[in-house]
């Protein structure tokens, strides 16, 4: 078995500032060694441990999709020591990457179903990966109707702005962009994610909801989804915990007997109901 | 009445009158000779209190765990730590009721000068004990060759496993975030390299200097039996000699490293004291 601590070497190809505060950046990484592209097989929802040699590592959901061959995308908010250092990196710098780690969004279960994707703020990363995966022509017919609710504080915080613009024009997905409060020039939805969801989503009985966002958003969205008829086994979310090893050994990201890094990060609400509320 | 009976009677009285919500003391431990911290909230629970050899933790360490009114059974060390905590605004004097009692474990610290409480709201016994600390252990070590001292020190430090029991049982170590946990900057490697161990212990010794009252809790807590007492007692001796004071004896005096005198000795200067 390969050494799980040995990382891939990645070059930062491009850095995009995502918000006016400049504390949210998207990094596009490419593999330094061509043959690693084939070795790094991943699915939407998985994450990687991005590392700066001599500084440390931190886990981030992979925002790119497998069809975007040769590159990986990570969107990172400046929070603590590591993200501060990562934000100081420049295009051309070399970083390390371990992964792919964890499970993915439940792609097998989603097959043939309608999918409701609900995201808030900068937590849209692995959801973006999923959307990108679904709309790939060879995959699109595997899924039913796609509804996406994506809420933000204000328009400046929206991730992947260009891409969302393009998605708004697509016929094969229904995209509902919203911001918390009225802003001049904004012609999409206004209001918090739970209320928008209640207003625009009219799910089929087998539809599956995937939710990712700040804890308070998730807290108020869950009852809405339940009112709309989603059973706990048809609601999924992706959890965040402090992680180090990413392979279920270092012992800090467990919720009950499950390790978020290895058994997660994606869990159904039905699974979470079986676990202690320790996250 | 015995000391223990006095303690129990007072504790019950305080709890019954609702003057305190809890009394911190000791109960019988699960191993021979060991006592364990115990928090009595009812008069029945008070019955579990013991006061005997083995009651050697510093209970002042637990005061910050409670927000309401707290009674504490305090031996000499504990009261001196309480004085320090009050002076450093970690504990509110109004919030605590001190039941003073002579230290029951006289065997373990042979040269303790203050086995009886320095402050108390009630004394469970009134024996005045007079001991002299001659610092003979420190002096004996000072007599050794520098090479011998360094070898011994390195050997002791190499035993440390950085479990931080010494820090966590110490009432003087009340920082919410210790320098060993800071990562911006990261002051200390997360290893048990000799260097990291030494830097940890020397820094901790200095950080508690002037507030350490040599209660020995760190020494007894150490699972690896590192001789931490030597470092702490060396500084106590220095503080006595250089500044003619002893920590934790009065609510009025500032901790020795928080104040200064115009004519403080400065033997550390290049060329010695007279170079200025």
């Amino acid at each position: 078995m390969p050494n799980p601590y040995l990382p891939y070497e990645m070059r930062i190809e491009k850095i995009t500032e995502e918000n006016p505060e400049n504390d949210l950046k998207t990094f596009i990484l490419s593999f330094l060694n061509e043959q690693d592209i084939e070795r790094f097989k991943y699915l939407p929802g998985q994450f990687g441990e991005v590392g700066i040699m001599g500084v440390g590592e931190a886990p981030f959901g992979i925002a790119s999709a497998p069809c975007e061959r040769g590159i990986l995308k990570f969107s990172v908010k400046r929070m603590g020591f590591f993200t501060k250092c990562l934000h100081q990196a420049e295009a051309g710098d070399i970083v390390s990457l371990r992964g792919p780690l964890g499970n993915s969004w439940p792609l097998e279960k989603l097959k043939g179903k309608d999918v409701v994707i609900i995201g808030g703020g900068f937590a849209f990363t692995t959801l973006r990966s999923l959307v990108r995966y679904i709309i790939e022509p060879e995959n699109r017919s595997d899924f039913g109707q796609i509804d996406i609710v994506y809420g933000n504080r204000e328009p400046g915080q929206i991730l992947y702005k260009e891409e969302f613009k393009e998605w708004l024009t697509r016929e094969d997905i229904n995209l509902y962009l919203s911001i918390d409060r009225e802003v001049p020039g904004w012609d999409k939805y206004v209001g918090f994610v739970p209320e928008i969801t209640e207003k625009v989503i009219n799910p089929s009985v087998t539809a599956i909801a995937l939710v990712c966002g700040p804890p308070v958003m998730i807290k108020y969205t869950l009852p809405v989804l339940q009112n709309l008829g989603f059973t706990p086994d048809r609601i999924y979310t992706s959890l965040e915990m402090k992680m180090k090893c990413g392979i279920g050994m270092c012992g800090r990201c467990n919720i009950g007997s499950k390790y978020v890094c290895k058994d997660g990060p994606v869990f159904s609400m039905a699974e979470l109901e079986q676990l202690p509320p320790e996250y | 009445m015995t000391v223990l009976e006095n303690i129990k009677a007072k504790a019950k009285e305080l709890l019954e009158a609702k003057e305190v919500e809890v009394v911190i003391g000791f109960a019988q431990g699960t191993l021979p000779g060991k006592c364990t911290p115990y928090f009595a909230r009812t008069t029945e629970e008070v019955e579990r209190f013991v006061w005997q050899d083995g009651c050697n933790l510093n209970l002042a360490n637990y005061l910050s765990k409670f927000s309401g009114k707290v009674g504490i059974i305090a031996k000499g060390c504990d009261t001196r730590s309480i004085i320090n905590l009050i002076k450093e605004n970690q504990v509110n004097r109004e919030r605590i009721y001190i039941i003073g009692a002579n230290c029951p474990s006289m065997g373990s610290c042979h040269n303790c000068r203050h086995p009886q409480g320095v402050i108390a709201d009630f004394y469970a016994e009134q024996v005045q004990l007079n001991n002299q600390d001659d610092f003979s252990d420190v002096e004996a070590f000072e007599e050794l060759l520098s090479e011998e001292r360094k070898n011994y020190f390195y050997q002791e430090m190499s035993k440390c496993i950085r479990c931080y029991a010494c820090r966590n049982v110490c009432p003087a170590c009340y920082c919410k975030e210790c320098f060993v946990e800071e990562n911006l900057p990261c002051w200390l490697g997360k290893t048990t390299d000799l260097a990291d161990n030494i830097i940890f212990h020397l820094t901790r010794t200095m950080h508690v200097a002037g507030r350490c009252i040599d209660c020995g809790a760190c020494v007894r807590a150490c699972p690896m039996e590192v001789n931490l007492s030597l470092l702490n007692r060396k500084l106590l001796k220095d503080i006595q000699e250089l500044f003619n004071t002893e920590p934790g004896l009065s609510l009025e005096a500032e901790p020795v490293l928080n104040e200064y005198k115009e004519d403080d000795p400065q033997p550390f200067l290049i060329g010695g004291e007279e170079s200025v």
Partner: protein, 329 residues
């Protein structure tokens, strides 16, 4: 059943012979405690040898170790260097059966179907474990089976001038090619000890059932009241395996022991901490050992060696904790 009886002298000669090929590790007395060290080729444990201060987990999963090194070359990409994996062949002997058994618990963590920790697995593969049966329990002991052979390659029982030797694993049997253990030695010696002379088991089915329902109990707050959240119990535990990964300024990725008892263990960059107080942290330690690990691996992550009992600075006795949990209605 034991397979051989050998005089201690013969055993010693055999072990000295083995030193040609193996590093031999044994409990070495320092002051009044035993620590793991290189065997001097002559010493046998004293009468007073109960167990080592630190468990043998250090020998497989050291308190800190370098996992990777980076070399920065100006103008070029940094070089990632994987250190040589441990290759030394070792024999550790006089391991107590509880500690030998703890290795099978660590194996489940570090070597599994998804990932294998090469540093651990190499040391494990290259090490022969010779255990020595405990004949009287220590003050804090609460093991289930002092005669367990789990984790041992060979097992010894001290009979005064001789050892009874039990061949346990293939690895252990492979060692006994040496003429010291000849066929004329008595074989198939019945165990003279009763099956469980200590009868100390505390962790039982009852406990597992209680742990199912006790998560929200106020008992945790009460039990942890005296806990100072140091790392003694976890660092001295033969099965605790939580660790941290850090990069040091000198270009090394270092793995070091960490502890679920420390507040910083689960504290996130945002400041949020899923286990904010001592109560959650004590609960995590107990639940991990006796419930979560059991759910994942079908075995408790505790061998009853008693180190945490004897060394806890505030005498927070895990036996008492488990007893209290069992008494919850």
């Amino acid at each position: 059943m034991f397979d051989y009886q050998v005089s201690k002298r013969e055993f010693q000669n055999w072990l000295i012979k083995m030193q040609e090929e193996y590093e031999v590790w044994a409990p070495v007395k320092v002051g009044k405690n035993y620590t793991w060290g290189s065997w001097d080729g002559g010493s046998f444990p004293d009468e007073d040898y109960q167990n080592t201060l630190k468990p043998p987990k250090d020998l497989f999963f050291p308190q800190y170790e370098v996992l990777l090194k980076y070399k920065k070359v100006k103008g070029k990409r940094p070089l990632i260097i994987e250190p040589d994996l441990p290759q030394e062949k070792r024999i550790i002997w006089e391991v107590r059966p509880c500690d030998a058994r703890s290795l099978t618990i660590l194996d489940r963590v570090f070597i599994n179907k998804d990932y294998e920790d090469p540093y651990y697995s190499h040391r494990r593969k290259n090490t022969v474990v010779i255990s020595l049966v405990c004949q009287k329990p220590g003050l804090g002991c609460f093991c289930k089976d002092p005669l367990t052979t789990e984790g041992s390659d060979l097992m010894l029982l001290d009979c005064g001038d001789t050892y009874l030797v039990k061949l346990v694993s293939v690895k252990g049997k492979g060692l006994i090619k040496n003429p010291v253990f000849t066929a004329d030695k008595p074989i198939n010696i019945p165990m003279e000890l009763p099956a469980n002379p200590f009868n100390l088991e505390i962790a039982d089915k009852d406990l597992a059932e209680k742990l199912e329902v006790i998560y929200r109990s106020p008992l945790w707050r009460e039990l942890q009241e005296k806990c100072v959240n140091c790392g003694v119990c976890t660092f001295l535990c033969p099965t605790c395996h939580c660790f941290d990964l850090t990069d040091d300024q000198k270009g090394k990725k270092v793995r070091s022991w960490d502890s679920c008892m420390f507040a910083s263990f689960t504290k996130q960059a945002s400041g949020h901490n899923p286990r904010p107080t001592g109560a959650e942290r004590l609960r995590q330690r107990v639940m991990h050992k006796f419930r979560y690990f059991f759910e994942n691996h079908g075995i408790f992550a505790c061998v009853g060696c008693g180190r945490c009992v004897e060394k806890c600075p505030v005498n927070l006795d895990i036996r008492e904790v488990l007893q209290r949990i069992k008494e919850v209605q």
